[in-house]
Symmetry: C2
Subunit: 498 residues, 2 copies
Amino acid sequence: MEKLKEFKEHLKEIAKLDFARWVLYWDQRIYMPPKAQEARAEVYGKLSRMHHEMLVSLKTGEFVEHFNRSEVLKSLNERDRALIHVVTKLYRRRVAIPADLYERFQTTCSKAESGWEKAREKSNFDLFRPYLEEIVDLVRQFADLYGYEENPYDAWLEEFEPGMTTKELKEIIKPLQKNLVPYLKRLKEGSRPNDDFLKGEFSVEKQKELSLRALRAIGYDFDAGRLNTTVHPFQITMGPSDVRVTTRFDPNDLRSSLFLTLHEGGHALYDQGFDSSLYWTPLADGASEGIHESQSRLWENLIGRSLSFWKFFYSQLVEVFPAFKAVPIEDFYRAVNIVEPSLIRVEADEVTYNLHIMLRFELEEALLNGRIEAKQLPELWRDAMDRYLGVIPQNDAQGVLQDVHWSSGYFGYFPSYMLGNLYAAQIFATAKKEIVGLQDKIAAGDLATLREWLREKIHKHGKTYEPKELMERVTGEKLKSDYFIDYITEKYNSIYRI
Amino acid sequence: MEKLKEFKEHLKEIAKLDFARWVLYWDQRIYMPPKAQEARAEVYGKLSRMHHEMLVSLKTGEFVEHFNRSEVLKSLNERDRALIHVVTKLYRRRVAIPADLYERFQTTCSKAESGWEKAREKSNFDLFRPYLEEIVDLVRQFADLYGYEENPYDAWLEEFEPGMTTKELKEIIKPLQKNLVPYLKRLKEGSRPNDDFLKGEFSVEKQKELSLRALRAIGYDFDAGRLNTTVHPFQITMGPSDVRVTTRFDPNDLRSSLFLTLHEGGHALYDQGFDSSLYWTPLADGASEGIHESQSRLWENLIGRSLSFWKFFYSQLVEVFPAFKAVPIEDFYRAVNIVEPSLIRVEADEVTYNLHIMLRFELEEALLNGRIEAKQLPELWRDAMDRYLGVIPQNDAQGVLQDVHWSSGYFGYFPSYMLGNLYAAQIFATAKKEIVGLQDKIAAGDLATLREWLREKIHKHGKTYEPKELMERVTGEKLKSDYFIDYITEKYNSIYRI
């Protein structure tokens, strides 16, 4: 037990460096003056390097070896075993990458991000291609070093969605694709909601007030966080009880800030809900990127875009923007749920979002396996857009160059977004079964019951359970696309009156 | 030369930890949510410890030893010799304190600050006394370890004002005291300016606009900094080209924010003016706390509270607050220069400010030398206030408990405030001699000439010269109180029409 205490102290020292780094990152994204960039990158780089070095140190290695002895492992309680499991995995992955290669990857990605920005500005994929080719090469090398059974893509999926394989992912996607593509065509024949009343000017000050009210409504703890404005909104955990969110304001569209805020707020509720016994360890984290995304999508869409939510929250909207008094709640609800096949993923609605992801998954998996080459991407992108969504980008900026992920070396990340949607639907279906009168509670403004249920079932455990085990524990079955398909069909049949 | 490069790289690594720490500190003071406090203190503590450990490491020691060999030292250029001098001093002071004692001091001060806060809230010195007694004991131990020739107080003065001694300080104070105390009485017989037009409501938004204009006017570089709001304003340098300022707004007094902003802006101009070759070394710092304060006081008072400045800046005030159109500039100028003996140092005007400092210096020097005891402080404070300012605090909160410094273990810091005023007057007198038509330039809105002069003479050198050498280089003589006394007498004779 003495050794376990020492181990946790060691992890705490590592966590401190990590948190320090996040404070710098947050400041960098929000407040840092432009001329400070270069020097700050060096300071941030130092903290990252120190963090990495402590993580892959001999000391960590000795602890990992010790606690993985079966007689030692058996003597631990469930949570501590989970801790050993998570740290062991992380340590072995990180230590598998030689320092030189790791640094080359960092440098390449850093250059590629700038290259991507310029290429996107000029809407010219060829400017980005050489960077991408180098990254794909490195990503393959990493996959070999991480190890995998069937598909090098598995090695990267593991990074973001522990336990998930390419094969399983394809199984999950199949029914989704089979249902969503024709459903999207059906919706076109339905009755498109009117959203004229959402056009106009909406003061940023008032939108901010509305965002704050939305965060208060879902139970975000402002004493352990704050809301800021950024170009690209994000949620960040800078320490135990320091879980911040950002949003952005479009003076011509109040939906944008409101749902972005609810999305990031959903992420934040997860981190604010970790059991304090997990603090300072790698268990104080989401079970996976997909599970984390499920919490943001749940609050953004399954709650935030539901009629029940607006039955209660509409009066708050009217308090901030009195003009909505003249708009029936039902009309407003329909208007924030308009489905529109579009070119840009981050602007996609609930129905089309997953199609954007399938396309990316297909391409990056084929790329990693060498079945396609980088230079084919723009054309393959256009083809897939036509097949899935029936719209075709006229240039690379609106097509293959729209996302930063590949330039950052984030292969295998995109599926998390889709998984988040599916997890959310399945988890919410369970919540509806287990919480009597849930929709009525929501309509009456009681979001606390749902939040506490999520906290109890999901948030407080952090990374203790891998996604599969967590889903079994929470919903009693493994992940299925059915819940999402049912949710979408039922909701949009009603909205589109089909 | 290879060795020198290595040394500078080592210093850069130390500087990175320092800057990271300052980012955390800034966030802590401005944005950090309350519940994050405890964990953040641990993260901050880790960075501080790592910084300290690198500074007193064997590696630093070896460099210090190497570069102090006379044949090596002789081979260096002037700036590098200054660097060795500064690092050697810093290293020897830090290494003189055993790690245990250093930690005890940190912990004691941290507890004492909370103790002081509570004591001040209840306005009860006895609640703070035990902490202060412990701190005084530690401060004496530190003085012995730092070493001194005549007075243990010298060992602490050296921390903030290199090269200054208690004896010299007393010599500087003597004429100041002799002149200011009777002059204050004389002013009472003069004609007190009217400030009725400064009473009223001043929107915080507009005050902020005015603060931004003031910073732009003095040439603060917003691309290498930013302005924030805090309860206790400060200036902070978080990295090369990241020099931020904060201010506070009183809706009933526009003077408060304006002059606080100019004060912190003055500090910031210093740090924004360091030569970039000094970055990442301990030379990228003010020559001393006193010299640093001279730059803030110069912009706050000698410029900001001068008639020339208002001749140019008044139109900007009127643009933000049109009501002032009806007030003659001269009346406004006189109103922002009202002299009023008061109980609180931070609210003191130019004439009385130094008297507050003399009192603190007297007490802390006597305390450190054991000529008085902590328990006598409240009474001695009241006596001195009566002698110097003719006002007597009715309670401890407005008297001996008003400043945080002693609870933070900052003995020997107060004189910096006074020295700042004196340095500023002497430097400005030189500027007037060297820059033809300086007052006319200022009145015409040309603050750049003065700023560039200060940059050339003072800012760009950072900590290269100790205060005495710097003053000789800039003004051609050593520090004298005369310039300040002359400045005050001339200015206030005119304002008070005596």
